[in-house]
């Protein structure tokens, strides 16, 4: 079995689509739950007031999902969606490793580090 760019890309394409469909299913589940629980007037988004702190961390969202909190489930789906391109870069690193292309293992790793920084360290 030989590794080439075409093969990496096919693999990545299938993974991306699967990830998106899973994320959309989670968001939809949370959305249906949310609409079943909230019958009031539409929320006001005219002025920015930020989201509650429990929705801004992985542990907060995880805890909310356990309690079947609708907004936390939607957020989980959104994070899964954000994770799909991150996973894509990760898979490219593996692919380039198989191809023994050291320069592009390094290039992909730089991109992955920037993504990780944005998701978990930047504030």
């Amino acid at each position: 079995m030989s590794w080439d760019d075409k093969r990496i890309e096919t693999w990545v394409g299938v993974m991306l689509r699967t990830g998106v469909l899973i994320a959309a299913a989670v968001v939809l589940t949370g959305g249906v739950l949310y609409l079943a629980q909230n019958r009031g007037p539409r929320p006001d988004y005219t002025y920015f007031h930020g989201e509650p702190a429990r929705l801004l961390s992985l542990s907060g969202i995880g805890h909310g999902v356990m309690m079947l909190d609708a907004r936390s489930i939607i957020m989980l789906g959104l994070l899964l969606l954000i994770a799909t391109p991150v996973a894509r870069v990760g898979m490219c690193i593996v692919g380039f490793l198989f191809e023994r292309d050291r320069m592009y293992v390094a290039v992909s790793s730089v991109v992955l580090v920037i993504l990780m920084y944005s998701l978990f360290f930047h504030r």
Binding site: D5, E9, T10, V12, G13, L16, R17, G19, V20, A23, A24, V27, L28, G30, G31, Y34, L35, N38, R39, G40, P41, R42, P43, Y45, T46, Y47, F48, G50, E51, L55, L56, R71, S72, I74, M75, L78, L79, L81, I82, A83, T84, P85, V86, R88, V89, C92, D101, M103, Y104, V107, V110, V111, I114, L115, Y117, S118, L119, F120, H122, R123
Partner: protein, 276 residues
Amino acid sequence: MNELWFALILFFSSLLAGMLGALSGLGGGVVIVPLLTIAFHVDIHYAIGASLVSVIATSSGAAAAYVREGFSNIRVGMFLEIATTAGALVGAWLTTKLPTQTIGVVFGLVLLYSAYASLKKHHEGMTEKPDPLAMRLKLKGDLPTDDGVHTYVAQRVPLGFGLMGLAGALSGLLGIGSGAVKVIAMDQAMRLPFKVSTTTSNFMIGVTAAASAGLYWRSGYMAPSLVMPVMLGVLAGSLIGSKLLVKAQVRTLKVVFSIVIVAMGLEMIVNSVTGK
């Protein structure tokens, strides 16, 4: 308006935006922010958060189809993603600092430019000498065409890289895919074949958007109840749009969509300047 109606109207508006975006090749993200701010009076920060997520959904959702065509160049994409993701971080940081009016004006100008760029004839053919830097970075590839396989090599790599940094910053600042600027960087600056530029750009859009999405999430710009119908609508719309693409009149659609975008761009600039 109650929650259910609000969600349904948002869903169907986003579905239409996603469909038009896929059919015209401009992407759904570019109209989501004007739609939310102008029609639904949503604060631009929330609108950008919702748009960014939709951009990721569209890009990742369309990836499988683009791969099948076999035009995208994984090395060119990955190398340029260093510039776009770094730019996206700067752009997303700027969003937290700049006043709403400034973001509105920049957004309007980018909309006007995207409309212009989508109608402009693109460049084709490569006559110049390849950039030695491109050879060292393996920024080359083969393009299957009707009369055999053509080999191409990137040119003017530093210019392309710089433009990609700008594309990333705009993406992070405005929550759009900035596919128009990405295609210009590859097609005009680096002289890559047009099909390679557009398909590679689609691949890069998701990664670029993910770089600023993290920052938006942690800054509280992602309102789950607002993002939910928008993301699902744009995703469904873009999937329907790409299925319809085969039989659609692309040229007419592009013109119609460009007129819509110009109108939205002008409205955003006017609203921002008059402080509405």
